[in-house]
């Protein structure tokens, strides 16, 4: 269980920090352009940070005590493949979820 001080620190910190990121250019920098190399890196933040976050959760899931788990691996693969092919977030979530439950059912 997470303690209340941590929860509220994170809520306030993340709220203010996210606002600062959103306000940074629109509010403070105005119409001056950003250096190209900064924009070039910013373009890849989401596709770098989120896979880095997810990879250990797929390979060493906390729910199995960090043991590799075939239903969870299969589910991740299916989600990624459907998402890549269909470009549809909901379709990928549904297929990934069905694979997970199918796999857990088969694994007993």
């Amino acid at each position: 269980m997470i303690d209340k001080v941590t929860i509220w620190t994170v809520i306030v910190g993340l709220g203010l920090g996210s606002f600062a990121l959103r306000f940074m250019f629109l509010g403070l920098i105005g119409n001056r352009p950003l250096p190209i190399w900064v924009l070039r890196h910013l373009r890849y933040t989401a596709v770098a940070v989120i896979p880095a976050l997810v990879a250990p959760m797929v390979i060493w899931p906390a729910a199995t005590g960090g043991m590799m788990d075939p239903p969870r691996m299969a589910s991740a693969m299916v989600t990624l493949t459907v998402g890549l092919l269909s470009r549809n977030v909901l379709a990928a979530i549904i297929c990934g979820g069905l694979t997970l439950y199918g796999g857990l059912y088969l694994a007993g």
């Binding site: 269980m1 997470i2 941590t6 929860i7 620190t9 994170v10 809520i11 910190g13 993340l14 709220g15 920090g17 996210s18 990121l21 306000f23 250019f25 629109l26 509010g27 920098i29 119409n31 924009l39 070039r40 890196h41 910013l42 373009r43 890849y44 933040t45 989401a46 596709v47 770098a48 940070v49 989120i50 896979p51 880095a52 976050l53 997810v54 990879a55 250990p56 959760m57 797929v58 899931p61 729910a63 969870r72 589910s75 991740a76 989600t79 493949t81 459907v82 998402g83 890549l84 269909s86 470009r87 977030v89 909901l90 990928a92 979530i93 990934g96 979820g97 997970l100 439950y101 857990l104």
Partner: protein, 240 residues
């Protein structure tokens, strides 16, 4: 076609935002459920979703808090996920930078994936819109998205405690993230960023305080930027 006034632009924006409700509601419900399982009260979930309005960052923070990561690591990692909002802010500035400060503050608060995508698309399609029309369109894109986001988060928190562990909800977070990221892998540079990030994050998973996440994220960003630069040089044909 009738001339576009700020009033009609507002409803055009709302129409552009409407389909995103289908994506936002399940995502926010899931956030509410996972937050309540992690020990968040309904009020805390409500305030979190209202203050941050960024599902991916909220999930990141939640995950790291559950792993007992230090608060500073939780904040840095979640804000890193939100760095794209700074990019949105930069990209909206030429269109909305002339608005009054208070208006810009509200626009900043409401800058999310959906409002940004709709608005930039519309501003490029209708370059002759005046400032009032553009501002009005922007707020229109949020008028449905934001209430549904907050209400679904709270609903998720309310039903959360009722879901037993056999439903393997722990894995809802990776599935949701993968589903969001996969369609974003549009170019070789995006794929390179993701692959390098994964390899580094796994290779440096032994680092304390979840620093492997930051190593993976930064390494992936650098890989993406580098590949983009190489591809640009090849297509333009003349190496500098």
């Amino acid at each position: 076609m009738l001339p576009v006034t700020p009033k009609t632009a507002f409803w055009m924006g709302a129409r552009c935002g409407a389909p995103f409700i289908l994506v936002i509601v399940p995502f926010a419900l899931l956030f509410g459920v996972v937050a309540s399982e992690a020990g968040f009260s309904v009020l805390e979930t409500f305030v979190f979703s209202t203050a941050v309005i960024a599902g991916a960052a909220q999930f990141t923070a939640l995950q790291l808090m559950q792993e007992q990561a230090p608060t500073i690591i939780v904040l840095v990692s979640a804000l890193a996920v939100n760095l794209r909002l700074a990019m949105y802010s930069a990209s909206l500035t030429p269109h909305l930078g002339a608005a009054p400060l208070w208006t810009r503050a509200f626009i900043a608060y409401l800058t999310v994936d959906q409002s940004y995508t709709c608005s930039v698309g519309a501003y490029e399609r209708y370059p002759d819109w005046d400032l009032a029309t553009r501002v009005s369109y922007f707020f229109g894109t949020c008028v449905l998205v934001l209430p549904f986001w907050v209400l679904a988060s709270v609903s998720g928190a309310l039903i959360g405690q009722a879901i037993p562990p056999e439903f393997a909800l722990d894995f809802a977070v990776p599935i949701t993230f993968l589903a969001i990221i996969a369609p974003m892998l549009r170019t070789l540079a995006h794929v390179a960023a993701a692959l390098v990030a994964v390899v580094l994050a796994l290779g440096f998973a032994w680092l304390p305080y979840n620093l492997g996440l930051l190593v993976g994220g930064l390494g992936g960003m650098m890989a993406g930027a580098r590949v983009e630069q190489l591809l640009e040089r090849r297509t333009s044909g003349d190496a500098p």
